[in-house]
């Protein structure tokens, strides 16, 4: 048995197949995660570059539970800074989004440029030669806390770490390949919303990586006799096990391959639907991929379910709550017909999603079921106990084990 220094939680094996329930509830574990994961050796997704197209456009969001500002500070440049005035800790940007020439704290009018440099302190020289800041106060030492920032296929990431590998290396070739395929074109935001869940953030991220539950918990497709997404496919893991893609593709001789990529397929399955146009789709990708759920450690998801493309970011909101931010996307090249099909397919996902709503509730049930037994554990052993890609089966919990491998490495437990 090993124990963490701070939380006194036992990990009963040296691997990743037994997870003590205490990690989902303990406030000190939650605090450690903020430091060791969200401020540690990871890159965090903070938004889309296209949401801040013009100089001075900004949005506010969070890395872990630390508020940050994402601002366009030049033609190509995006800057991410902690949203906290160097003076008294006030939020510099209160609005969720806006445009500014400079960033000014409303409390005492301390002004920062778009790079976060402190430019002016109100009454810094005092009034009538009285008061003011001491002569040795150097504004250059009191800017906003700047984070390393980088963009990949329009996705803005930032990190508190000075030592984590560059973003492209963090994402590794296999993960970037899928992002290129799904997002490497002119994308448009069709809608955004959030889903607030009564469970620890890790329970949701395990759910994302859990290909085992998909056809069991989500009964919609079985009820309406639709082909299950899980029929053929596998799990790709990055070499270190941190990131994953659960994918499936249509059979080469199936109806999926036989329709023209420009026309919608009125699928024959789902014939019990009163209006089967709900699942009309087209072959968007030459590779025939019909499903790819990708997670980038720790809390970012890229989703392709047929033509439903979305990004999800799971923000921790305390030990027992989290908020899932959704971006539903389309392509700028979509025909009207394709656009309408994407809108209809949006019914599948999100808090009202016909094949996803259950994901919003099951975490809360685990939270309630396990709260009292912090040193009892889950079992994550489907498909063995190792952490390696599973190319021909999705009946495995291997990508959940990958999540815990990253977790234990970062947390030092």
């Amino acid at each position: 048995m090993t124990q963490t220094e701070t939380a006194q939680i036992s990990w009963p094996d040296d691997g990743y197949s037994r997870i003590p329930y205490g990690v989902y509830t303990d406030p000190s574990v939650y605090d450690d995660e903020q430091q060791r994961i969200f401020r540690g050796e990871v890159w965090s997704f903070v938004g889309l570059a296209q949401e801040i197209p013009e100089m001075g456009d900004y949005r506010t969001t969070y890395i872990g539970d630390t508020p940050v500002i994402v601002v366009r500070d030049g033609d190509d440049g995006v800057q991410v800074m902690v949203n906290r005035c160097a003076h008294r800790g006030n939020l510099v940007c209160v609005a969720k989004e806006g445009r500014a020439d400079e960033l000014t704290c409303v409390y005492h009018n301390w002004r920062y440029d778009l790079q976060g440099n402190l430019k002016n302190v109100a009454f810094g020289k005092g009034v009538g030669k009285k008061g003011g800041m001491p002569d040795d106060f150097d504004p250059a030492n009191h800017g906003l806390q700047k984070l390393r920032t980088d963009i990949y296929v329009g996705l803005v990431f930032a990190t508190f770490s000075e030592t984590v590998v560059p973003l492209a290396d963090y994402l590794v070739d296999e993960m970037r390949e899928n992002m290129d395929r799904v997002l490497g074109r002119d994308m448009v935001v069709l809608g955004t919303y959030s889903q607030y869940m009564p469970n620890n953030w890790k329970l949701y991220m395990e759910n994302v990586r859990d290909s085992y539950h998909a056809s069991i918990l989500h009964m919609f497709q079985a009820t309406f006799r639709m082909n299950r997404l899980s029929m053929k496919g596998g799990i790709k893991l990055s070499d270190n096990g941190w990131h994953h893609i659960s994918h499936s593709a249509a059979d080469s001789d199936s109806e999926e391959q036989q329709y023209n990529s420009k026309t919608l397929l009125s699928v024959k399955d789902g014939y019990l639907l009163a209006d089967p146009s709900l699942v009309d789709r087209w072959r968007e990708f030459d590779c025939g991929t019909t499903l790819a759920i990708q997670s980038i450690y720790p809390n970012f998801v890229v989703q392709q379910i047929y033509n439903s493309i979305a990004l999800r970011l799971c923000l921790p909101r305390g030990p027992e709550e989290c908020e899932l931010m959704w971006w539903i996307l389309g392509s700028a090249d979509d025909s009207d017909e394709q656009h309408d099909a994407r809108v209809r397919q949006s019914n599948m996902v999100g808090p009202g999603g016909l094949i996803s709503m259950e994901d919003g509730v099951v975490g809360g049930w685990i939270q309630r079921g396990s709260k009292r037994d912090r040193n009892k554990t889950t079992i994550v052993e489907m498909g063995g106990t190792d952490v390696a890609s599973s190319e021909d089966s999705r009946t495995t919990e291997v990508s959940i084990r990958g999540f815990w491998k990253a977790y234990r490495e970062l947390m030092g437990v």
Binding site: L190, T192, M219, A274, D275, R344, G350, G352
Partner: protein, 165 residues
């Protein structure tokens, strides 16, 4: 003034029919008579739940989207037979129905709502507040929704949404 100027010409019976229709809809949902839900809509229709932030940007993707009566039926069948969730109930509190305009038999109507959600163990919360932005067609004195857009003030949905608003 935004609002009722155009509506003075609407006869009392029509106005009353529209207001009753909106109230009946809320009772139908709160009473769990959801199989009747599609009957409130025209065959081709729009039912959409979307948040205010997206609505003002004229985005169309929200958390629920039905474009036919059949799709409404499928939603209810999924709720009854497929979707997994903790039993809960809604209570709709409606206020301030106003008829903003008309075009022949088609009326533009807005109504504020609050939905209180009660879970099986008794937890109650304000699940959503916002306004209905409706296009109601009245034929032979009988109103039907051609379009009902549920504009929620909050971007957040707590846990999940399976029962329509």
């Amino acid at each position: 003034m935004d609002g009722s100027a155009t509506t003075s010409a609407i006869d009392k019976d029509t106005r009353r029919a529209i207001e009753d229709f909106i109230v009946d809809y809320a009772h139908m949902i709160d009473d769990d008579r959801l199989e009747e839900w599609p009957d409130y809509f025209t065959e081709k229709c729009t039912y959409r739940i979307i948040n205010r932030e997206n609505f003002v940007r004229e985005r169309v993707v929200g958390v629920m989207e039905c474009s036919s009566r059949g799709m409404l039926e499928d939603r209810i069948k999924a709720l009854r037979e497929a979707n997994v969730f903790e039993p809960h109930w809604y209570r709709h509190i409606l206020s301030g129905t106003r008829i903003k305009g008309r075009n022949g038999d088609l009326f533009q109507v807005e109504t504020s709502f609050t939905v209180i959600r009660t879970l099986q163990e008794g937890d109650m919360s304000v699940f959503s507040a916002g306004k209905y932005v409706d296009e109601i067609i009245v034929e032979g004195g009988k109103p039907l929704f051609q379009k009902r857009v549920v504009v929620c003030d909050s971007n957040r949905i707590h846990t999940l949404i399976v029962i329509p608003i």
